[in-house]
């Protein structure tokens, strides 16, 4: 049954109820850690990279329904993408993939984008260090 007054789209609720890619990756190639307890959202995003392609992504999130759904969605979106492609994923794209978010919840999609960028930065930093040594 659809509830027209629901805060969230059916897709958000679907991802909230059955979040994809929950957990951590052992020996990840990149980890992003964003958010803070004051605003009530903390996201951790793990990626595994092979030949410049993100082959796996997992997350752990403390946060509201939108924070959990955007975490789930962004991990789905990056899997199989090249690093350069993944860097182009915007918060708007995450929100759109979830059939939209309420305006007051858009910051959750920003956090998802930040978590992804931060994980990729971490990966690139490590790769650079490896090359130097």
């Amino acid at each position: 049954m659809t509830d027209p007054w629901s805060l969230y789209s059916e897709k958000v609720m679907e991802h909230f109820k059955n979040p994809r890619n929950v957990g951590e990756i052992e020996n990840p190639d990149g980890v992003g850690h964003v958010g803070n307890p004051v605003c009530g959202d903390i996201m951790e995003l793990y990626i595994k990279v092979n030949d410049g392609i993100i082959v796996d992504a997992k997350f752990k999130t403390f946060g509201c329904g939108a924070a959990i759904a955007t975490s789930s969605m962004v991990t789905e979106m990056v899997k199989g993408k090249k690093i350069e492609e993944a860097l182009k994923i915007s918060n708007k794209a995450v929100a759109e993939a979830l059939d939209g978010l309420p305006p007051v919840k858009m910051h959750c999609s920003v956090l998802a984008e930040d978590a992804l960028k931060s994980a990729i930065d971490d990966y690139l930093r490590h790769r650079k260090l490896k090359k130097q040594t």
Binding site: P37, C39, G40, F59
Partner: protein
């Protein structure tokens, strides 16, 4: 799915007896209570009857009861009314850091307009120390406002003791009794209050109607100007059906309050005990004993409130949280922060407020469902790992 409503501090269903009492005043007895012909007199009679019922329940005189559009207006009227009536006397107002927004925001508003506001701290249980009130009073203090019981954590404040201090100092004393009237005894003389705010929809009455009790002799500037209703203290045509509904709700509460409070306190304690047993890393917010008979407020560590509320809603259970992920500021409840909770625990708060329709089976259902929800969300929480 059977729905279980556990948010009676937000609002209550209007009782059928109340609706029945109100109905004639929409249609047959629709008159304006200020008109002198029969329709008007019928309406006037109903308004005055309701006034007496409210006065009786709180131990006031009829003429000390002013009908308002609700608790928020009553609080606004009390604070602004006293502030502007006493500008020559002083500009200092004492309140607490855990007031409802209907008081808190008025204080902030007045604070920007030349009044000095003292926000008293509370202890870890949410209690205000009457000695703090005593120490805060200066010769410029014109008003003390301390809520009777907190709407979020249910702590019942030492209003009587604070009232005594305010009276001895000759300072006007206001209390927001929105969460207490009809649930625990409220008597304006025992509490030594000069102003007291009431809302009907928190005691199974209709929304959009409330009362400001004003002790005789209290100086107050009106907020609403217009007609001469309520002895020129609150202009606007009386909301007769709502006033009648409030009167009926108050009458029923007066008859049933004692027994119902006992029943709810039993359910409350069962729910608290069950939650403590079934979920680890959980804490009770508010006072262990000095709390409203229907209030349960807990923080579930490592998980956020809204995600618990959504999961409970999927199971048909309606509750609330002090997390504020949807508000513009994102900061959690000012009440929980004032109690000293760290932000993540404040975001992980859940409030269940019981009411007339709730049974032991409802409590059991929460106890059956919540541990699983907490476990599911904890499995995806990055906070749990850092704790290990």
């Amino acid at each position: 799915m059977r729905r279980i409503y556990l948010d009676h501090a937000a609002t209550t269903p209007t009782r059928p007896e109340v609706v029945k009492a109100m109905l004639p005043y929409f249609t047959d007895a629709f008159g304006n209570a200020s008109s002198i012909y029969s329709y008007g007199r019928e309406a006037r009679g109903a308004v005055e009857e309701a006034r007496t019922k409210v006065a009786e329940l709180i131990g006031a005189r009829d003429e000390e009861i002013i009908f308002t559009s609700g608790g928020t207006e009553a609080d606004n009227y009390a604070l602004e009314g006293v502030a502007y009536a006493n500008e020559r006397k002083g500009n200092h107002i004492i309140t607490t850091s855990i007031e409802h927004h209907a008081v808190m925001e008025v204080c902030k508003f007045l604070g920007k307009r030349g009044f000095k506001i003292t926000y008293l701290p509370v202890d870890e249980y949410g209690l205000v120390d009457p000695d703090d009130v005593k120490r805060a009073i200066t010769d410029k203090t014109i008003l003390v406002s301390v809520m009777h019981a907190n709407n979020q954590v249910g702590t019942i404040e030492p209003v009587k003791e604070i009232g005594k201090i305010a009276r001895e100092a000759g300072v006007c004393f206001h209390t927001d009794a929105v969460q207490t009237l009809g649930h625990i005894p409220v008597n304006v003389d025992k509490l030594k209050v000069d102003l007291l705010a009431i809302s009907a929809h928190k005691l199974y009455g209709p929304k959009g109607i409330g009362v400001l009790y004003v002790r005789k002799g209290t100086k107050l500037v009106s907020l609403m100007h217009g007609g001469e209703q309520e002895k020129r203290r609150r202009a606007g045509t009386e909301n007769v059906p709502a006033i009648v509904g409030l009167g009926k709700a108050v009458e029923l509460a007066g008859q049933e309050m004692g027994k119902e409070a006992e029943r709810l306190a039993y359910l409350r304690d069962k729910l608290i005990k069950g939650l403590m047993e079934k979920i680890d890393h959980i804490r009770l917010n508010g006072h262990p004993t000095r709390r409203l008979p229907n209030n349960v407020n807990v923080s579930v560590d490592f998980v956020e409130g809204e995600s618990m509320i959504l999961n409970l809603d999927l199971e048909g259970i309606c509750a609330s949280t002090g997390s504020a992920c949807s508000s513009a500021i994102l900061e959690p409840s000012h009440v929980l922060l004032a109690l000293g909770l760290p932000a993540e625990q404040a975001h992980g708060s859940l409030r269940f407020t019981l009411g007339r329709e709730n049974t032991e089976a409802d409590v059991e259902r929460v106890l059956e469902v919540l541990p699983g929800i907490a476990a599911k969300l904890r499995a995806m929480s990055p906070l749990l790992k850092t704790q290990k």
